[in-house]
């Protein structure tokens, strides 16, 4: 049983070993550099300040576009979930926006608003927003009418109802939207940066691609994955635990 504790570290080691093995067999430091080479490149990029700067820019865009999409998406989702007429009217809009390819919205935003930061953020928000709306709308439809009646009967104000009755019930849906949102937004931001920004991870990866610098691409990818893992571990997991403390 003690052994299980070490399984995650062991699996990580095996992963590195497979990587090292593949790199040695291929014998080509350009196509697949060894973990050691990537580590050196990673360290140099950190020390030079390049990686923190570009990662920081991408993170900034992530935080801004994620916050806007979640806030707007929750508000619209709750309204649509509680109002049948509005929902019937906007349902088709949602379907359209859900199915417009990310690349199309990105290109259109840049064409219409120029290669500026706000256009980049807008493009990401437009891509994420429909997902949040749909998730929160489903959650709102499943709200417990008994508890809503109780709140009405005891004259709960709107904010009190939202905070104590509605949001706790939406918690699983919010966490779902957050997790799928982070994964989606990362990927879209990279494309946005690649097409129209002069900093950020996407811009850097584009440069490395032009120079066939696989080691740098891998180094940036690792930084990327690590940050997402940290967000999950330091923010999302504790939020989960906090929200579910009342369960039996």
């Amino acid at each position: 049983m003690q052994f299980n504790k070490y399984l995650p570290s062991l699996s990580l080691l095996v992963f590195l070993a497979v990587w090292q093995g593949a790199a040695s067999t291929l014998h080509s430091n350009n196509t697949l550099p060894a973990p050691y080479t990537v580590a050196i490149v990673f360290w140099q990029a950190v020390v030079s300040g390049q990686l923190p700067y570009h990662l920081g820019m991408t993170l900034m865009r992530l935080v801004v576009s994620f916050s806007i999409s979640m806030l707007l998406g929750c508000a619209i989702g709750i309204v649509l979930g509680r109002n049948k007429a509005l929902n019937a009217f906007f349902d088709h809009w949602l379907v359209i926006f859900l199915n417009v390819p990310a690349l199309v919205t990105i290109i259109l935003c840049y064409v219409w608003f120029g290669l500026v930061e706000s256009a980049a953020i807008l493009a990401v928000v437009i891509n994420k927003l429909p997902n949040v709306i749909v998730t929160i709308r489903e959650g709102t439809r499943a709200l417990d009418t008994d508890l809503m009646d109780m709140a009405r009967c005891y004259h709960f104000s709107k904010t009190k109802t939202l905070r104590h009755v509605i949001l706790p019930q939406l918690q699983p849906f919010l966490m779902g939207a957050t997790r799928s949102g982070l994964a989606l937004i990362w990927k879209i931001i990279l494309v946005v940066e690649l097409l129209g920004r002069s900093n950020g991870m996407g811009y850097q990866l584009h440069l490395f691609f032009q120079m066939f610098d696989v080691a740098s691409i891998l180094a940036y990818t690792i930084a990327f994955v690590a940050v997402i893992q940290l967000i999950e571990l330091l923010i999302l997991k504790p939020l989960d635990k906090q929200a579910l403390r009342w369960r039996r």
């Binding site: 008994d146 508890l147 009646d149 109780m150 009405r152 009967c153 005891y154 709960f156 009190k160 104590h164 009755v165 706790p168 929200a243 403390r245 009342w246 369960r247 039996r248």
Partner: protein, 242 residues
């Protein structure tokens, strides 16, 4: 004081062929404990929803006291309807009005024997305890009218008896005008000053009977049973309800 006068001329659900409630009149004196006794499905919950303001789609008038503002209603539902993600104490504090001090919950918790568990979450407590929390919540708003919709229906008999006696204890210390709905005649006799028997489809009053048993005798099951027999013998019209 808060006398309550209820008139519901007509309450028909959309699409229903006949009214659920028709020509219904009922008056309650201040601090009177009245039990509505009727078969399940006869419209008792509909009536309570009209009284509580949850349902406004009816013809009639409900007058609680002399005031013109909306009356304060305490509603104890069939299920406790507590917020599972809030502790016992938070559930009660949430219904308080801004001018009410949270301190006033303490004596209520004491009477209902919940002081020990006030910081627990409802799902960690027994069903009987959850009912008691719902009772405190309704009393905490100091309501003009307390509505109770078969609050003990899903409890096992000993637990129901315990919670019932705690409810009476609380009500005697803090008298309120109570409308209590049940289909259990023994329960009604044990609790009420007055019994209102209801016929179904549409719901209307068929009998209005004062319970003559002294408050101090209400725990005596023999006295309750004796009055029940007497009711059945003297009132053939309510026999079908029993």
């Amino acid at each position: 004081m808060t006398d309550v006068h209820i008139t519901i001329a007509n309450k028909t659900y959309a699409g229903a062929a006949q009214p659920t409630i028709a020509d219904f009149h009922l008056s309650l004196r201040a601090n009177e404990f009245v039990c509505l006794v009727g078969s399940s499905g006869c419209g008792k919950t509909t009536l309570l929803n009209c009284l509580s303001g949850l349902d406004n789609q009816y013809d009639g008038e409900i007058q609680v006291g002399q005031q013109h503002s909306a009356p304060k209603i305490g509603y104890i539902f069939q299920n406790p309807r507590l917020l599972p993600w809030r502790t016992v104490r938070e559930n009660i504090e949430l219904v308080l009005e801004p001018h009410q001090s949270p301190e006033l919950i303490n004596p209520l918790l004491d009477i209902m024997q919940l002081t020990q568990v006030q910081h627990e979450y409802p799902e960690r407590l027994s069903v009987g305890m959850n009912r008691r929390v719902a009772i405190i919540r309704a009393f905490a708003v100091n309501p003009d009218l307390l509505l109770m919709d078969e609050p003990f229906v899903s409890l096992d008999p000993p637990t129901a008896r315990d919670v019932r006696s705690l409810l009476l204890q609380l009500w005697q210390q803090r008298p309120h005008t109570v409308l209590f709905v049940t289909h259990d005649l023994r329960e009604a006799i044990a609790l009420a000053d007055r019994l209102i028997f209801l016929a179904a489809a549409p719901m209307r009053v068929i009998s209005d009977i004062v319970v003559p048993i002294a408050r101090t005798q209400r725990h005596d099951e023999a006295a309750i049973e004796q009055f029940r027999q007497q009711l059945i013998n003297n009132h053939p019209d309510i026999k079908q309800l029993l």
